[in-house]
């Protein structure tokens, strides 16, 4: 079967892609992912501000004790001009790109506009085939309006696009008043593709320790519904690439995303749960399914269940909503009595 897929203008051998996550921290890990047959590897996100803060702390660690004592006016060699606080990440891109034969996509998260562009350039210089902008503005700033959040996103996208000459994908959060419309605005601003969606790291509460604990958790198939719905809605409205992220536990979950209209399907949680090698199983499962259905290429079934471009969006969604309510009533209604 022909699994060739076009994503952000890149030609991928398969629509299943490793999304940004903890499994791409070393070249060996990236190789292990690529060896499964995945179409591309998105590296873990480089958090620009974190890198800068670390650089600042490192500077303090060097300076705090320097020039204090006659025998030792410093405690470290001054190799400054060679040092780059992001060097580890850049080297990972460079070495990964050489080590694997699938595109290596760098993922960047920053807040200040200047950081976005300067880091984006460095990532591209290091050899990233494309860039994924993981725009994640810290929620909790109650003074910021929705319009401001949106404007900031668009500004970043435009600036990054201008700064680099490789395709740029934008990973969005689902929490916009009108995610679909805003997604189109992002594309308008220059994005070559969208990754839907990133997930807020939702903190939890440890009632024993009376403490807030960090909320990193793996996604489950239920998390796939929101992105899938929006991909289905957007598919026929744009030529830009669409990547579905979240909730891929089985090959069926991945196929569902493709049916909704995703160009590629991204997964990390399943691979974290089952190991990188699990990607090969997902791929085999997807291929088996396609063959069992008689498809000879992915393109034949991609977007089959997308919202038709001429559908009345309100009506379409409304009818889906009504159907869902009806189903809920029939499933749970009897329990009330």
């Amino acid at each position: 079967m022909d699994t060739t897929t076009s994503y952000l203008g890149l030609t991928l051998r398969h629509p299943l892609v490793a999304s940004a996550g903890p499994l791409s921290q070393s070249v060996d890990q990236v190789k292990a992912l690529a060896d499964t047959g995945l179409g591309a590897v998105v590296l873990y996100s480089l958090f620009a501000e974190q890198v800068q803060r670390q650089a600042e702390r490192d500077l303090a660690l060097e300076e705090d004790y320097a020039e204090s004592f006659a025998e030792a006016t410093s405690y470290f060699p001054s190799m400054d001009e060679l040092a780059n606080p992001a060097a580890g990440y850049l080297s990972l891109i460079e070495r990964s790109a050489k080590a694997v034969d699938v595109p290596v996509i760098a993922s960047l998260n920053a807040s200040a506009l200047g950081s976005w562009t300067s880091f984006a350039q460095q990532l591209v210089d290091a050899g990233a085939s494309a860039l994924e902008c993981n725009i994640y503005l810290v929620p909790g700033d109650l003074s910021m309006t929705g319009a401001e959040v949106e404007a900031q996103h668009l500004e970043i996208v435009a600036a990054v696009k201008q700064a680099v000459d490789v395709p740029v994908a934008v990973k969005l959060s689902p929490y916009f008043s009108s995610p679909g419309n805003f997604a189109l605005q992002v594309i308008e601003a220059g994005a070559d593709g969208l990754v839907l969606f990133n997930r807020f790291l939702q903190p939890g509460v440890d009632v024993e320790q009376l403490a807030v604990v960090s909320g990193v958790h793996l996604s489950s198939p239920a998390d796939a519904r929101v992105p899938r719905t929006w991909i289905a809605a957007l598919r026929r409205q744009t030529k830009a690439s669409l990547a579905a992220s979240s909730g891929v536990e089985s090959s069926a979950d991945a196929i569902a995303h493709l049916l909704a209209g995703a160009d590629v399907v991204m997964t990390t949680s399943a691979l974290v749960r089952h190991g990188a090698g699990y990607a090969a199983k997902l791929i085999a499962g997807m291929d088996d399914w396609a063959q069992s259905k008689g498809y000879t290429s992915v393109d034949e079934f991609r977007g089959l269940l997308a919202v038709p471009s001429d559908a009345d969006p309100l009506g379409y969604h409304r009818s889906g909503y009504m159907a869902a309510l009806e189903k809920a009533k029939s499933m749970y209604g009897s329990l009330r009595h």
Partner: protein, 1188 residues
């Protein structure tokens, strides 16, 4: 040719590195920087002028460096090294060989004092004078520029003459002075030292292609002649050097001579000198000649071979009196070396009729250990020479009231060029003052037509240290190798300094004074000490103030006030137009911090703008106001010596102490840190008696011994000051007893290790709160009263304390307290524990390094004594010989014990069987046994007091040795793994009862973070700038191979109980013991507050597996190898991620970092498996101990 601002070390290294192929190095102050630069340049791939990247190899000692150098030279490589002081002494044997074999090389020396009555890191010529007999030629530099030029001239001369050279310049004064320097380009250097000379050097190498033998053993028949055979080469040296100097002048435009004369052609009074002091004399001569005085100075550049003819030619025939100045001391000699050389030259010339007139000759010593040598002193010397009979021997710069050798002089004489702006800055090490000043010097010195000089004085503390920066700027080259004496600008960057030292010592009428004060412009004057106010008024000082801490904090820069205060200096010093100056500061910020990211740059730039807005000129009233006085350096209750001598050193007036004030043999009272209340932290530990479970963990880890616990009957609280904290003692069987954990507020450095060690998290408290927390110091007076009351409560009796657990140790009195070690030091808690457990009967041999500096650097020292006057006796011999030194102490103690036992037997009839047997047969392993023995020995001594006779006298002199003495050999990894390694090995092999404690920071901490054989794989350190590529030596495993050595690897932060156990077992073991103690360090690049966490991570990752090897167990038929930490459960990556030393490599060479990390992880896993196997072996697979 590029004009740059650099220090003398860099100037010399820049030429030397580019003209050599190999640098064989070892760190020693003040020369380390040269070696560090060579290593950095090599790591970055910088080439020499011949197109190759020099190999830089760190050796285990200077002796090793010289050996490798000798080999490399015999192998035909252009080779050099950089050293000083004791390091140079260790090279002497090889120097004779290298010279004897006529081998070309230049040895660069930042000349430094030698350890005699005390060690000193500062500059003089004692070290180089100790090698004048080796056969090396000796060329000296007197300035930063010359350090560069002479390094090149020496290189050419050595290759032409085949005679090796020592190129030396004054440690600190030149090595650390920043000044303008024109660097020779690679092309110039290559033209100056062409490749044919290199090839000639290579041709002389040993080679099996054309073999010959060198290094033979010779006999009476020919040795002598062979020694004389090289004479023509030495005779040729002056001519070769002179020619090289001429050639250099043609190349670079700077002309030097073997001997230079400056002054009146018909001078009657002449000074002969070499080194940086020559500039001081030259500028003074210029001034005096301008006034019509007939004075002159002979500056000697080539000292060996001694250029007799040139020297004679330089001294005007009119000279009536000549003073020869030596920056060295040779006790018992007829005179110092340069003086004797001059005397011989003049005497011979006169006797041979080649010189009509023989001037009066005086030999003077000056400038030992960087003692100031100023124009005022030079005037004093010329005044002496004008007397009818000048003193034949003298000293200058001190007050010798014992042998009356010192010359008087008028210190108020100031001959500096008024066009030079002079500035002095007082700062604390941590505030970045020196760094900012170095920037200022670079900014101003970088301007066309402006010259700049910076010199920095540091005190001896590693935490809360005071720095004084001396800066000069002006339109003429600055040749003033002495401190500023009258400053146009004074900056006092920390309020606490002006309360303690006279920051107006260098003030002149109209000086601009900037103070960083936590007070507003209207309030600040009244807050100043009254004597300072008076001086401000009297001198008409222009006073400015800023709350730089506030500005820095607001700008997000924490405690770093450097940018703020630097801006203020530029804004008000008039050193350059204000707007231009501020733009220059910003430009430097952008350049310095560009790599650190836009945020850092933005913060600093914002701080610059905020500074100008927060700077105020203060209205100075006509008369002093308020009643603030200076804080005395030590309390009036301190002993007389501490008040008069130590106090003077603390107040910064130690230079004025007369010779009579000082001990004749370097013996000082111990335990003087207790008198120096430094108050260096604004936040200190605060005990929460309600939450505290009295576990003792905090007191155990406190590096500064500022947490003291006592339990006592509640009646002891009578008269307690209000606010004195206590809690019911948390122990069964002590009803009515109270417990107090007292914070010594004035001594606490606010390091926070106590908080981190505290296991208590009070219910409902915010997440970081513990039973001991850091809090701002609110009422110092109350804290002082609490400590005073606490000290009146008796220390708990040792016999009633359970030593076996950490909880018990908190009640043992520490006899190592309040050291000047870094805040949060990882070493000192181990030393404190040592003194708590064994201090009253311990002798400590301490290797040179951090522990000898915070342990023994004047003014105040932390090793103290208890109320009986007993405490650890401490001494430092050298760096390399500490194990042997400690063994010597053990052997002496054993000898005395044997003598005491013998005499006791001999006096059996008089003393009675019971007394004698009780003492001789007493077991002395446990504390209870030891305290009983101490009582017996005390009783014996009382009885001996009533007896007479030679044997009685003899027994009395050694009776103390009947109590088992605890001998500790302490030092860092630089000593134990490297320079002292052979000694440590030998002492462990001796089977003698010594305890070796290695405070393992995995790096040379004291000299600034150079790699040792303990440095882990992948760590970046100086001399391993590209990351260490070899693994850390496993000393524990090496030592266990002996079978009869007790070995422990401990990490207090991971398992304090295991640490305690190991210390007690090691001490109790009747044989050699080795404890390797993980010591977190500022050189790891960690938040020191998290030091204990990093210790834990080191253990949890398997980097530092806790273990003990106890030969006693083997003797009992058990496996002696005990693995004390659980299987590694933390990836090495996670441990590394928290330390800058590992992160640095990731930032500069991530590929190498990854590779080394992988190798490191493999190595950790492999070693663990090996340890596990050992720990589960049968006892029979370990060697049995021969003696039990």
């Amino acid at each position: 040719m590029a004009r740059v601002i650099i220090d003398g070390n860099e100037a010399a290294a820049s030429a030397s590195y580019r003209l050599n192929e190999l640098c064989s190095i070892y760190p020693i102050t003040p020369s380390s920087t040269m070696a560090e630069l060579a290593d950095e340049w090599s790591a970055r791939g910088r080439k020499n002028v011949y197109g190759s990247i020099p190999t830089v190899i760190e050796m285990q000692s200077e002796g090793g460096a010289a050996g490798a150098l000798h080999g490399a030279l015999q192998g035909g490589a252009l080779s050099t090294t950089f050293t000083a002081s004791q390091g140079l002494l260790l090279m002497i044997p090889n120097m004779y060989k290298i010279a004897g074999e006529l081998t070309s090389m230049v040895l660069n020396v930042a000349a430094r004092s030698l350890a005699a009555q005390g060690l000193s890191i500062y500059g003089d010529h004692q070290d180089v004078m100790a090698v004048r007999q080796t056969g090396f030629a000796m060329l000296n530099s007197s300035s930063v520029q010359e350090a560069h030029d002479m390094a090149a001239i020496a290189q050419l001369a050595t290759l032409r003459s085949r005679v090796p050279f020592v190129h030396f310049f004054d440690g600190f004064r030149t090595s650390h002075e920043e000044n303008s320097c024109e660097l020779l380009t690679d092309e110039q250097l290559l033209a100056f030292v062409p490749e044919d000379l290199v090839r000639a050097h290579r041709r002389r190498a040993l080679s099996p292609e054309h073999p010959y033998i060198r290094g033979t053993a010779q006999n009476p028949d020919t040795y002598f002649q062979g020694r004389e055979a090289a004479n023509p080469f030495y005779e040729a040296v002056p001519g070769i050097v002179s020619a090289a100097m001429d050639q250099f002048a043609a190349l670079a435009g700077r002309h030097y001579n073997l001997v230079d004369y400056y002054g009146a052609p018909d001078a009657e009074r002449v000074i002969v000198i070499m080194g940086s002091g020559a500039h001081t004399v030259r500028s003074t001569v210029e001034h005096l000649v301008g006034k019509g005085e007939k004075v002159g100075v002979v500056q000697i550049r080539l000292y060996r071979p001694f250029p007799t003819e040139e020297v004679l030619a330089a001294i005007p025939a009119t000279a009536k009196a000549v003073a020869v100045l030596d920056r060295t001391k040779e006790p018992g000699a007829g005179g110092e070396p340069l003086f004797l050389d001059l005397a011989a030259a003049l005497g011979e010339a006169h006797a041979a009729g080649r010189r009509d007139h023989l001037p009066h000759l005086s030999g003077g010593r000056y400038g030992l250990s960087s003692k100031e040598f100023t124009p005022a002193m030079v005037v004093g010397i010329y005044d002496e020479l004008a007397l009818p009979s000048p003193r034949p021997r003298f000293t200058i710069g001190i007050n010798d009231d014992v042998t009356m050798l010192s010359l008087p002089y008028d210190p108020s004489i100031d001959l500096e060029d008024p066009s030079t702006l002079r500035a002095v800055f007082y700062g604390l090490g941590s505030d970045g003052t020196v760094g900012a000043n170095k920037n200022s010097v670079k900014i101003l010195g970088g301007i066309e037509g402006t010259y700049a000089q910076g010199y920095y004085v540091y005190d001896s503390k590693k935490s809360g240290s005071r720095t004084v920066s001396h800066l000069r700027f002006g339109p003429k080259p600055i040749e003033a190798p002495y401190l500023v004496s009258q400053a146009g600008f004074i900056g006092c960057h920390h309020w606490s300094i002006l309360e303690r030292v006279d920051v107006l010592e260098f003030a002149a009428p109209g000086t601009v004074l900037l103070i960083n004060a936590p007070f507003g412009p209207d309030e600040v004057f009244a807050q100043l000490p009254v004597p300072m106010q008076a001086k401000i008024i009297a001198l008409g000082i222009e006073l400015w103030t800023i709350d730089a801490n506030l500005v820095a904090r607001k700008a997000g820069m924490g405690r770093r006030t450097n940018t703020v205060l630097q801006t203020c200096f530029f804004a008000i010093s008039k050193v350059m137009p204000r707007a231009e100056a501020i733009e220059a500061v910003k430009a430097t910020i952008r350049k310095t911090y560009a790599r650190k990211g836009a945020d850092v740059v933005a913060k600093n730039e914002a701080a610059v703008d905020a500074s100008v807005d927060s700077l105020f000129r203060v209205e100075v009233p006509a008369a002093p106001v308020g009643e603030h006085q200076m804080i005395p350096p030590v309390p009036s209750s301190a002993p007389e010596f501490v008040r008069n001598v130590t106090g003077s050193m603390l107040a910064g007036t130690g230079d004025s102490l007369p010779v009579s004030a000082l001990p004749v043999d370097g013996t000082y009272p111990s335990g003087t840190t207790r008198y120096e209340k430094r108050n260096i932290s604004d936040v200190i530990a605060q005990w929460d008696p309600e939450a505290c479970i009295q576990c003792g963990n905090c007191a155990f880890v406190c590096p500064h011994a500022v947490l003291r616990a006592k339990y006592y009957n509640s009646s002891a609280l009578d008269g307690a000051p209000e606010g004195f904290e206590s809690a019911p003692l948390n122990a069964a069987g002590f009803p009515g007893s109270r417990y107090t954990l007292q914070v010594y507020a004035e001594d606490c450095t606010g390091c926070g290790l106590c908080t981190e060690a505290c296991p208590v998290k009070p219910l409902g408290a915010t997440s970081n709160r513990r039973a001991i927390n850091l809090a701002p110091v609110l009422e110092r007076d109350k804290e002082i009263a609490n400590v005073a009351f606490f000290e009146k409560i008796p220390v708990n009796r040792r016999s009633r304390i359970d030593f076996a657990n950490v909880r018990g140790t908190q009640f043992l009195e520490p006899l190592f307290e309040f050291s000047g070690a870094c805040s949060g030091c990882g070493e000192t808690p181990y030393l404190k524990l040592l003194t708590q457990l064994f201090g009253g009967r311990a002798t400590v041999a301490n290797a040179t390094g951090c522990s000898s500096i915070y342990g023994g650097n004047l003014p105040t020292t932390p090793w103290s004594s208890n109320k009986y006057g007993r405490g650890p006796a401490w001494s430092n011999s050298l760096f390399e010989d500490n194990a042997e030194f400690g063994l010597g102490l053990r052997l002496a103690a054993d000898l005395h014990t044997a003598t005491a036992r013998k005499r006791l037997e001999e006096l059996r009839d008089e003393l009675g069987d019971e007394t004698v047997d009780a003492i001789l047969d007493a077991p002395q392993q446990y504390e209870s046994e030891l305290s009983q023995q101490r009582a017996r020995v005390d009783a014996l001594k009382s009885r001996l007091d009533g007896m007479t006779g030679a044997k009685v006298e003899d027994l009395r002199s050694v009776a103390d040795h009947l109590l088992r003495r605890s001998v500790w050999i302490v030092g860092g990894d630089g000593w134990a793994y490297d320079i002292g390694s052979a000694g440590v090995d030998h002492v462990l092999a001796s089977g003698r009862n010594v305890n070796i404690l290695v405070l393992d920071t995995e790096v040379y901490s004291n000299t600034g973070g150079q790699a040792s054989k303990s440095t882990p794989l992948g760590a970046v350190a100086k001399f391993a700038a590209g990351g260490k590529v070899t693994t850390k030596k496993d000393m524990a495993l090496q030592a266990t191979a002996y079978g009869n050595v007790y070995v422990a690897r401990v990490a207090m932060g991971a398992d304090p109980q295991q640490t305690l156990k190991a210390f007690r077992e090691a001490e109790a073991y009747d044989g050699p013991s080795l404890i390797l103690a993980y010591s977190h360090c500022i050189a790891h690049g960690i938040d020191m507050r998290k030091g204990l966490d990093q210790q834990y991570a080191a253990v949890a990752s398997g980097h530092w597996p806790l273990m003990r090897y106890n030969p006693v167990l083997r003797a009992a038929g058990r496996n002696p190898f005990l693995l004390d930490s659980p299987r590694p459960r933390l990836p090495l990556r996670d441990y590394h991620a928290k330390e800058l030393r590992f992160r640095m490599l990731m930032n500069s060479d991530p590929e190498a970092a990854e590779r080394l990390l992988e190798l490191g992880q493999e190595q950790v896993t492999r070693r663990w498996a090996e340890y596990e196997e050992m720990a589960t072996r049968g006892a029979e697979r370990f060697a049995e101990v021969a003696r039990s």
